[in-house]
Symmetry: C2
Subunit: 407 residues, 2 copies
């Protein structure tokens, strides 16, 4: 008989954002007239850059004429986009990449979820805690995370980031095979200095580990000393895969485009000690189980690298970062301890008086009609925090601050 | 140390269409003036339906205004598209589906490749032979296919379809857990009658097996007695997952959209005998490792179900099927044995005088400057056949037939 993948059954049935939606709906039933401000889910609200819209209109037109029609594209993406990425996202930061080291995809969630396909299921993993849930859930699904014991997965090393360590994860005192790092961080909105990132690269080199580096929020970095790419650190190409996304950079959450860099010098081992280039494995994986990203989407993404596109992207990011500033200043002036929000669109707020994340979530909802995300939903070390996002409308951010004053 | 997934190393390095491209390039170097006609890769050439173009332009405009902007969509797709699919693709054929049984994706290649995530890696598989390579390769990657011995995978049951059995795969005399069926068939272009399909559904019910039914070419069926969906067969919802694509139906190979139906009554077993609904597992898989299909793309797909869209799709399919007719009649009149091409855009041509697939491929290339696909590239039972596609320009199909006369 056909057998199901039982690892799926280990996953808790509840999903953070579904739980939140349920609680918000319950509130709405009882308070139908309340005007709720949503600062919970990390989705953008500003329209796409005009340059992308124009490029996509043009691409749609091309698909309407036999002479310019495009069928199957390359699984790893069109050269025009790959070259624009290398030239604009990497060369100015001193990072050299070959076109076949960049893989265009339909987004970082797919790639961070699917990357595990190319690695053995018994590698151990390490994650900063709190964390974007996909990293762990995708590893649970293939058995790599082990079993859930007291809220933690047995084959996962948790690396707490919190007030006490200034949100700098400490190098573990044992070896792990695969380490997930996300900087600027979701959910805490904090960043890692070049010096701290270097410790991780060196750890990976020394321990023959692989770093999965999620840089989906790099466009929000304001401090010129903070690295945008892990490849700015010497030796990182030997040990790191980097994930990038157009979702938050250019508002592509509903358009779907991202890319993953798998350097050719990066290898993993076979049981017998042979070194295998992971670039080749990821290419084979994508050629077999993926058929490329929409041509129209790729033209839209390319356009953000034009002078107009760059300026439009900057304007949108400034809008969100001004939201973050308003909220951070507002909350700080009210006596809250607020982290992040300076190089990332997320604010990580300490709940007052040791309140739990969920309790403060409900207090915000019922007393201020503002929705945040309970920090504990991102992992045990998130307990006692609330995540607020800066992706809302300006007036909602301002109104939310007025309401916090009454809390 | 981080260990690579060694199953990838079992995959032969050569890939059918890469090998073909190399051979064609070699020919071009020596014969730079030859005008090559490509009837090899199954990619479409006609522009998108006008209805889809208009819908996509409108959707791009919506993404340019804050009031109509769409961010993250539902992972399983928008209701507007799911409802259009159920109403147009299933209801008229007597198949009732709930909206949460239909999962929109970026294409059938992703879904047929990823579906294995939700099943144990030690299920046995059965495939018709010849076959679309993704079914096997994706199973090799997770170890489910076993090891390659004399050109066959040890954990795969091959079900030959050839002239001798009139391209009707025979029910195996032992049980397999997962069976891949693709009808209308790629590469042979043949179809399965309701009576034959029923045998497979009954086999799956009796053996507690799961059928992966790839119906990517159903829009090409001309004979009203041939089932378009496996769910037209009683009991199929208990045992079958169906894959559909807009690639060949509406020219979406470069736009990327398809869908997968996982009925709620379909279950697989745990080792302890508990029944698990696969709909829940696939939903969890998609919510974790996929983030929805482009809103713009989904609007484009929805538009093919409007009266204008339907008529434009029909026109394009008629164009390709007229190509198929011209080629089938042309080759038959020259004495070739030609299969398929009546309910599918593929012609499966027996090579003359027992020539091998690759030898005839080269003869076609060098003597007629026409590129086909060697049948053996799709599996051992494809030896002695060539696949030709009807997706080319009309004049190229006609010219190809003139050149065949000289062969």
């Amino acid at each position: 008989m056909a057998l199901a993948n039982e690892h799926f059954m280990k996953l808790p049935d509840n999903y953070l954002f579904t739980d939140i939606a349920k609680k918000v709906n319950t509130f709405k039933v009882v308070h139908p007239k309340a005007e709720i401000i949503r600062l919970g889910i990390g989705d953008v609200t500003r329209p796409l850059p005009k340059a992308s819209l124009e490029a996509m209109h043009k691409a749609v037109d091309e698909m309407g004429e036999a002479s310019t029609f495009r069928g199957y594209g390359p699984e790893h993406g069109y050269d025009f986009l790959i070259n624009a990425i290398i030239k604009n996202d990497y060369e100015p930061r001193g990072v050299k990449l070959d076109p076949d080291e960049v893989f265009i995809s339909d987004g970082s969630k797919s790639d961070t979820g699917n990357i595990g396909d190319i690695l053995r299921h018994d590698n151990s993993i390490g994650v900063t805690d709190p964390i974007y849930p996909v990293y762990i859930d995708s590893n649970v699904m293939c058995g790599r995370a082990g079993v859930l014991e007291d809220g933690k997965w047995s084959n996962v090393t948790y690396l707490p980031t919190n007030m006490e360590n200034n949100f700098v994860p400490q190098i573990p005192n044992h070896r792990v095979d695969i380490i997930y790092l996300c900087y600027p961080n979701n959910p805490t909105g904090t960043v890692l200095s070049a010096e701290e990132l270097k410790k991780w690269v060196n750890y990976a080199i020394k321990n023959d580990a692989i770093i999965m580096y999620d840089a989906a929020y790099e466009a929000y970095i304001q401090n010129p000393d903070i690295p945008h790419s892990i490849y700015e650190i010497r030796g990182a190409k030997k040990v790191a895969i980097e994930f990038r996304s157009f979702s938050k950079t250019a508002g592509f959450t509903g358009v779907r485009c991202g890319y993953t860099v798998v350097p050719k010098e990066l290898t993993a081992s076979t049981l017998s000690g042979e070194r295998i280039p992971l670039n080749r494995l990821w290419n084979r994986r994508q050629c077999t189980k993926f058929n490329g990203t929409s041509y129209i989407t790729q033209r839209g993404a390319e356009a953000i690298y034009t002078p107009e596109g760059k300026s439009q992207v900057r304007e949108t990011i400034n809008y969100y970062m001004t939201n973050a500033k308003i909220m951070k200043e507002g909350l700080t002036s009210l006596g809250y301890q607020v982290f992040g929000g300076e190089n990332a669109p997320y604010l990580w707020v300490k709940t007052p008086n040791g309140t739990t994340s969920w309790k403060f979530f409900e207090q915000m909802l019922y007393e201020a009609n503002v929705v945040g995300t309970p920090g504990v939903g991102f992992g045990p070390s998130g307990e006692g925090y609330i995540r607020l996002t800066a992706f809302g409308e300006r007036e909602n951010c301002e109104e939310a601050m007025r309401r916090f004053r009454k809390l």
